[in-house]
Amino acid sequence: MLALLRNQKVRGILFQFLTVVGLVAFLWYIGNNTVANIEQRGIQTGFDFLSGTAGFGIDQSPISYTEEDTHGRVFWVGLLNTLIIAFVGIVLATLLGLVIGILRLSKNWLIAKLARTYVDFFRNIPLLLQLLFWYNVVLRAMPSPKQSYAFFDMFFINNRGLYFPLPDYNTTFFMILGSFVVALMASLALNRWSNKRKENTGQDFAVLPWALGMFILFPILAYFLGGANLVFSFPALMGFNFKGGKTLSPEFLALTFALTIYTATFIAEAVRSGIEAVSHGQKEAATSLGLSNYQSLKLVVLPQAIRIAIPPIINQYLNLTKNSSLATAVGYPEIVTVFAGTSLNQVGQAIEIIMMTMLVYLFISLAVSALLNWFNHKMKIKER
């Protein structure tokens, strides 16, 4: 018997068995208590509440929403707003992070130091504090609509948000929008073709001027083909507020600023360490082969730097998405604010609502890590 207990395999099985028993007992215990507590407090269970009327308004919604809509609709509005703020934040943080990361490596002493100061400063301040600062100190302290700051009489900023002109959705507008997509597709195809030709014949082909040309020419063509009828609606002061054009609320702006500025510091660090990780010998080897500065950057340094920098950057995208939940502190109506906040207060079914909210984030995380695995697999150094 004792000998059996000393057997590693037996011990392993026994240990796992005990763990499972302990875990199941614990889950059973809290499950029982929860059921008892829910009954005693008269909380409803199940997902029927999703079809119940919400009864509260949401001031920013990408899909049509009224007070008579259901909590299920609130969930979708919140989810879409989360995705919108995450998308905007990711695009802006990537741009800013790239610039700061490259400036940190600049040979210009002053610029490199300034970029470093930016990183050291903003990443050591809690995101929530930055968010509250932008919202309370900067944006909410803007003047009232009557005294708003105007730029070229087209952009207005005041304590109700940022107003800017927007083209009407007519044929010309959609033609121009479509022309950008066509130009993008054509540039990608051209790039593919030039890479293939280079592999086969060794001849270079300057893709960039052609691509730029397409991006300029196609929209112009589309403008005339679409009837040359592009109408902008301008924001204008009517009574106490602006009408027309598009408005970005102070909540949205504060969240965008805070997420962008905070996440950009981490992206900048990823960019810098990616480029620094490429050993100096690689650059020297490229130079000794006779490659120009641009060629060595494009063909030798960047491909290796990207492989190192992209995984941490994608992780930052995930962090940014999760951090967008801080919106609840300023009241931007994303999923935590409206669904896990307002809906939860009305319905009181905490378990279902918080689980649904968590599942949304879990689903996003799983999607992102699947993307990351795919990337790592694709970028793996192919050794013989």
Binding site: I30, N37, L110, I111, D120, P126, L132, N136, I354, S365
Partner: protein, 361 residues
């Protein structure tokens, strides 16, 4: 016979040394660099003089009332008058010496750590410190007045949440990391599920869960106070991140170490405790400091579930009708405190990284 005379050493050409050369090399080497330098100087001029003017030249430091702030700049009088609120929250003022004593003990402990050699003595001391600290701050014993946790607040609460969060999460994190590296399939999958679940959701949802759902899990009569619920949520959250960093350390230990420990007949816990973990933790320490910095910043989130940490205290004080309109000063003050703590921690971790780097290779 040739006569050699000593030739005076020539000075280096003036364009390869000195401040002018440095300037030319680092700031004005190309037209682009000249433009960038100009831009940099413009940014500095745009940011620094107005800030100095606001925060120092035009600012008011002395006085005790709103009327003393007449300079047009920052009103540091507000921060000065409210500093006790920022530091201690609603903790009764007569009892604040207890918190200061706990701070004092911390420095005494740090000094002792410098001279103590035995690791187990250090660990014992740290435990004693936490227990003594808890009894001193909470009170209710030895004639000390009991101070309930809803009176705790300000920087002191921030430190309590951060310190207890890390200390409580650490053992759980080590166990989860070992579980994830284990060969037992059930143990491994339980650990992986826990870690990936927690890392996939924002801290806010975990805090909501621990403050709203957790009370439902326990029978009627068992109550947790708000602070304890937040601490449970934070410790659960942090454990997953600590586990991932320790796993990184575990992976960096060569297989030979495991085999050598097995070969001399150590049991699993001996192998891990005496051979693997000491090395793995050493590798993981810089990253663990990084986790601590992130946690210290994340403590501000407890504001959302209604605890009054430093940031929440500042918001509350700025909403005081007498001091209305001075929240900028409050935010700048909090920014300074958080920045100071986080920056010194990250400098510390960079130093550690350098120190540990040498003896690994």
């Amino acid at each position: 016979m040739a006569v050699y005379s000593k030739v005076e050493q020539r000075r280096a050409p003036s364009n390869t040394k000195g401040i002018l050369h440095w300037l030319r090399d680092n700031l004005f080497s190309t037209p682009l660099n000249v433009a960038l330098t100009a831009l940099g100087i413009a940014i500095l001029f745009w940011v620094i003089p107005p800030f100095v003017k606001w925060a120092y030249t035009d600012a008011n430091f002395a006085g005790s009332t709103r009327e003393d702030c007449s300079g047009g700049g920052a009103c540091w009088v507000f921060v000065r008058m409210k500093i006790d609120m920022f530091m201690y929250g609603f903790y009764p003022s007569a009892e604040r010496w207890r918190i200061n004593t706990v701070y004092g003990f911390f420095f005494i402990m740090m000094v002792l750590f410098k001279y103590l050699k035995s690791a187990s003595l250090k660990i014992l001391l740290a435990h004693v410190y936490f227990i003594v600290g808890y009894f001193l701050v909470s009170g209710g014993f030895f004639g000390l007045e009991h101070v309930p946790t809803d009176k705790w607040g300000g920087l002191m609460l921030t430190i309590v949440v951060a310190a207890v969060g890390i200390v409580a999460a650490f053992p759980l994190g080590v166990i989860l990391a070992l579980g994830r590296a284990s060969h037992l399939p059930i143990i491994r999958s339980i650990s992986v599920t826990y870690i990936e679940f927690i890392r996939g959701v924002p801290l806010i949802t975990i805090l909501f869960m621990s403050s709203i759902i957790l009370p439902l899990f326990f029978p009627e009569g068992v109550t947790f106070d708000k602070l304890l619920r937040a601490l449970i949520g934070i410790a659960m959250f942090e454990a997953a991140y600590i586990a991932e960093n320790i796993r990184g350390g575990l992976q960096s230990i060569p297989k030979g170490q495991y085999e050598a420990a097995d070969a001399i007949g150590l049991s699993y816990w001996q192998k891990m405790g005496l051979v693997i973990l000491p090395q793995a933790l050493k590798v993981a320490i810089p990253n663990l400091v990084g986790v601590s910095i992130a946690l210290f910043q994340d403590t501000t989130l407890v504001m959302i579930i209604g605890l009054f940490d430093l940031l929440a205290m500042v918001r509350l004080s700025a909403a005081d009708s007498y001091w209305l309109g001075y929240e900028t000063e409050g935010y700048v003050f909090v920014t300074f405190i958080f920045w100071f703590f986080c920056y010194s921690m990250s400098n510390f971790s960079q130093k550690l990284e350098k120190r540990f780097n040498t003896n690994l290779r």
